[in-house]
Symmetry: C2
Subunit: 144 residues, 2 copies
């Protein structure tokens, strides 16, 4: 994962590549993503970072990152929205997160299984497939 300094530098490059100004909030939020091993939801940022930035700013920042292909959403069955950082293949114009997500019923963490590809699905005739989301529920490695 690298030192804090390396991470900060990496984040600066990532933001500039996405044509985004490098601001304290954006850097801090990306740091939290990179230091966390699971997906994060909106309320996590207030918990993890204290009240160091405004709720509104967090909403706007996540929205911007989403549009730029820096983070992606993960489906849930509750009213929360979870986000995780994308791999380098994602761009402003196209997301490529073809991996499986795992939700641990014990610790509650949601993680990207980057090495686990989503399988082929055979749809009924007449349906056009654009992308497939897979979320596996169970018990994760750490909780077993």
């Amino acid at each position: 994962m690298g030192t804090t300094k390396q991470i900060t530098e990496k984040i600066g490059i990532l933001l500039r590549d996405s044509k985004l100004s490098v601001t304290e909030t954006r850097v801090k939020i990306l740091e939290l993503f990179m230091k966390s091993d699971g997906a994060l939801e909106h309320s996590d940022f207030e918990k993890l970072a204290g009240k160091s930035f405004d709720r509104v700013t967090v909403y706007r920042t996540l929205q911007t990152f989403l549009e730029k292909g820096i983070i992606h959403k993960i489906p849930t069955t509750d009213t929360s929205v979870r986000y995780a950082v994308c791999k380098s293949e994602c761009t402003e114009h196209h997301h490529h997160d073809h991996h499986v997500h795992f939700k641990c019923e014990t610790c509650g963490n949601t993680t990207c299984l980057d090495e686990t590809d989503v399988p082929n699905i055979q749809l009924p005739k007449g349906y056009a497939m654009h992308n497939v989301e897979v979320v596996v529920n169970g018990v994760c490695k750490s909780c077993k």
Copy 2:
């Protein structure tokens, strides 16, 4: 699908089988589920049924149906929660909705593809799988 009278009768049986009182609200909500071809979310009931029942009652009714295995949730990437009626195999103690869900990007409808089984997933070592949720995004038959 049957006549309205047949549906009402079916709903009465379903409720009694689940050891639930047969109330106007419950019958009405199940009717809306059965007459809709897609999944419904909370706000749909207020739209479809006018203000004929209270918001709180809808929340409580959906919660009850969920616990009794009458409906199941479908994952989303926004703050909504979608529900659809279960097939007969689901019980109070165990859900068996091993089918794929489809979200149409054109009409916005989410449907259960009851005939499309969720595929096998090979998880990394150390993970225990309990169940798999699959949501396919694309364009549905009617919108094509």
